[in-house]
C-alpha cells in the first residue's frame, strides 16, 4: 500500500465514527496496539522535542525501506495513539516517498481538536524528524 492509500484507509476508518469521543477511543486503542520499542532506543537523542509528554522515535533502514519505531511514556495514551498513526502511515516506505509525503489524513480524520496547539508542536517535530531521516537516506542517482 502506498502512503496515500494508507492515509485514505485511515480516513475511511475514522468516518465510521460520528462522535469525537469514539474517534478518540479508537486512537487510544490503536496506541495500545503499538509494539513496544526496545528500552535501548529510549535515549535522549531519540526524544522528540516539543511534546508535552515524552515520545521517543527510532529510525533505521531495513531492506532499503525506512523503518520507524516509537513509544511514549505509558500514561500519555492519546499521544501514543497519534504516534501510532504516523508509524502506520510512514513506516516501511521508501525514503523518497516519505520525504515527499503530504500528510492530509490528520485533518481529514477530524481530530484537529485532539491536536491542541500544545500538542501540534510535538507532532510537527515528530513528522519533521521522520522526514529528515528519510531525506538523509535517499541514495542520489
Amino acid at each position: 500500500m502506498t502512503i496515500n492509500e494508507k492515509q485514505d484507509e485511515l480516513i475511511e476508518d475514522f468516518d465510521l465514527f460520528d462522535e469525537q469521543l469514539d474517534k478518540t477511543q479508537y486512537i487510544i486503542d490503536l496506541g495500545k496496539k503499538l509494539p513496544p520499542i526496545d528500552e535501548a532506543y529510549k535515549t535522549d537523542d531519540n526524544l522528540i522535542r516539543g511534546c508535552q509528554s515524552k515520545v521517543w522515535l527510532h529510525c533505521e533502514i531495513r531492506d532499503n525501506l525506512v523503518h520507524f519505531e516509537a513509544d511514549s511514556e505509558p500514561t500519555a495514551q492519546i499521544s501514543k495513539g497519534l504516534v501510532s498513526l504516523l508509524i502506520k502511515v510512514l513506516s516501511d516506505e521508501k525514503p523518497e516517498d516519505i520525504a515527499a509525503a503530504q500528510l492530509y489524513f490528520i485533518e481529514k480524520i477530524g481530530m484537529s481538536n485532539i491536536i491542541t496547539s500544545r500538542r501540534a508542536g510535538g507532532l510537527a517535530s515528530m513528522i519533521a524528524r521522520m522526514k529528515e531521516f528519510a531525506q538523509s537516506q535517499i541514495v542520489p542517482n
Partner: protein
C-alpha cells in the same frame, strides 16, 4: 442568597456549545468570563467616547479621562488603599511584579541582600526576582511547604534576618488553592525591616482585600481573573515607598517637563504609567468591580466555598483520583491527579465533553517538582458555576477512566 441561574444570564459565553455539548467552564483560575455590564462598557467606550486621556481638551477626551480616573477611585475603595495615587495601572499581575523588581529592586537591593518567596509561587513571582538576583548579586530564598500545600511558617521565621530586604509571596496558590497567612507574613517580615509584596492574582476574586489592614507594601492583581477585561492589572504601593522609587519605563504621560538636558518626572501615579494606557479596559474594570460588589463579595465567597466542599467530596469519590493541595484554608480550586493517566489526556477527553479544565504545571514547575508530579488537572470554580456542572465533571472523569483503562 445568590440567584445563580439569574447570574448565569449575565454571562453570554456560558450559553456556548463546545464540541456539541453545553460549555462547562471550570478554568476560572486562568481567567473568568465577563458579565454583560463589562462587555457593554467596552462597547460603549469605543462607540461613544474613545479618546486619548489627560492631555486632550475636547469633550471626548474629558469624558474618557474622567471615566479612566473614576476606575482608579473604584479600585482604591475596592482594596481600601489610603490614597488614590497609590493605585498604579499595569497590564496585569506579572507586569506589576516586574515593575517592583525593576524599579524598587534595582534601586534598593544590593549584593548579599535576600529576597524570600515560597515554593508555591507562579513563575511570574519567581523569574523577575531571579533576574534581579542575577543582576545585583542578591540571594533568593524559598519558604518550603508541607504535603498538604501549606507554608512552613517556622521555616519562614528562621529565614528572616537583617539581610531580608523583600518578601514576595502569593496570597492564594493558583495550582493548589491554598490561602496563605499573608497578614502574619507581612508582620514578621516588617519586624526585620523587609518590604512585602503580595501576589493577589488568585485572591482578588475570592477574598476581600484590605491593604491598610494587611499593611503590605505592594499588592498586585489582574482584572481578568475578577470578571474584568484582559490586559489590565493593578499595582498598589504605599505612597512613601512608591515616591522613593524611580520610574521604570520612560515615555509620554510620566514626565513633568522634558528638555534634551534634563527631564523631570510626573507625580504618582503617572510616573509609572508611561505611554497611552489601556483606557477601555481600565474603564470597564469599574463595571467588573461594581458587578462583584452588587453580588456581594462575601456572598460570592460563601457560594464558592459551597462548590468547593461539594466538588471536593464528589471528586474524592472517584477511585484512583487523588487531590493535590489539601490545605485547611482554600479557595474554590481543586487540583487532582488520576492514577496512570496523563493530565493532558484528561483535559482532551473532558474538552470533548464540553468541560474546560486546566492541565499541566500551571506555571508552577518548582511546586510540581516539590510534589513529585509532572502536573495536575485543575477545576476552578466561579460564582456562575453550579453543583450540576460538578456532577457533569464527575461523569466526565468516569468516562476518562473508562476510555483509558
Amino acid at each position: 442568597m445568590l440567584d445563580i441561574q439569574k447570574i448565569r444570564q449575565d454571562f453570554p459565553i456560558l450559553g456556548e456549545v463546545v464540541n456539541g455539548k453545553p460549555l462547562v467552564y471550570f478554568d476560572n483560575a486562568a481567567t473568568t468570563q465577563k458579565p454583560l455590564p463589562v462587555l457593554n462598557a467596552l462597547a460603549r467606550y469605543y462607540e461613544h467616547y474613545n479618546a486619548n486621556i489627560h492631555r486632550g481638551i475636547h469633550s471626548l477626551a474629558e469624558k474618557a479621562t474622567s471615566a479612566f480616573e473614576a476606575s482608579r477611585f473604584k479600585i482604591q475603595s475596592f482594596m481600601n488603599a489610603a490614597r488614590v495615587e497609590e493605585i498604579i495601572f499595569t497590564y496585569g499581575t506579572t507586569d506589576g511584579i516586574n515593575l517592583v523588581a525593576q524599579s524598587y529592586g534595582r534601586k534598593f537591593l544590593k549584593e548579599g541582600d535576600e529576597i524570600i518567596i515560597s515554593t508555591m509561587e507562579h513563575h511570574s513571582n519567581i523569574v523577575p526576582w531571579q533576574m534581579l538576583c542575577e543582576e545585583k548579586g542578591c540571594v533568593l530564598r524559598v519558604i518550603p511547604i508541607n504535603d498538604a500545600g501549606e507554608l512552613l511558617m517556622d521555616e519562614f521565621e528562621g529565614m528572616l534576618s537583617e539581610k531580608t530586604k523583600l518578601v514576595s509571596v502569593v496570597h492564594v496558590s493558583n495550582a493548589l488553592g491554598t490561602i496563605n497567612p499573608v497578614a502574619e507574613i507581612i508582620e514578621k517580615a516588617h519586624a526585620v525591616g523587609a518590604k512585602v509584596l503580595i501576589d493577589g492574582a488568585q485572591a482578588s476574586s475570592h477574598i476581600t482585600i484590605d491593604v491598610q489592614a494587611l499593611d503590605c507594601d505592594f499588592y498586585v492583581f489582574s482584572l481578568h481573573k475578577l470578571y474584568g477585561p484582559t490586559g489590565m492589572g493593578v499595582l498598589y504601593g504605599k505612597k512613601e515607598v512608591l515616591d522613593a522609587m524611580p520610574p521604570y519605563r520612560g515615555g509620554g504621560e510620566m514626565i513633568k517637563e522634558v528638555t534634551f538636558a534634563k527631564t523631570t518626572y510626573n507625580d504618582l501615579p503617572y510616573k509609572f504609567e508611561a505611554g497611552t494606557p489601556n483606557i477601555a479596559d481600565v474603564v470597564a474594570a469599574h463595571n467588573a468591580l461594581e458587578y462583584v460588589e452588587t453580588l456581594g463579595k462575601e456572598q460570592i465567597a460563601a457560594y464558592e466555598h459551597e462548590l468547593l466542599v461539594y466538588g471536593t467530596e464528589a471528586l474524592s469519590s472517584i477511585e484512583g483520583l487523588r487531590l493535590v493541595g489539601t490545605a485547611k484554608e482554600k479557595v474554590s480550586v481543586i487540583s487532582f491527579v488520576m492514577e496512570g493517566i496523563h493530565p493532558e489526556d484528561i483535559g482532551v477527553i473532558l474538552d470533548q465533553q464540553g468541560i474546560a479544565v486546566r492541565t499541566g504545571h500551571h506555571c508552577t514547575q518548582p511546586l510540581m517538582q516539590r510534589l513529585g508530579i509532572v502536573g495536575t488537572s485543575r477545576a476552578s470554580f466561579a460564582v456562575y458555576n453550579t453543583k450540576e456542572e460538578i456532577d457533569k465533571l464527575v461523569v466526565g472523569l468516569e468516562r476518562v477512566k473508562k476510555m483509558l483503562s
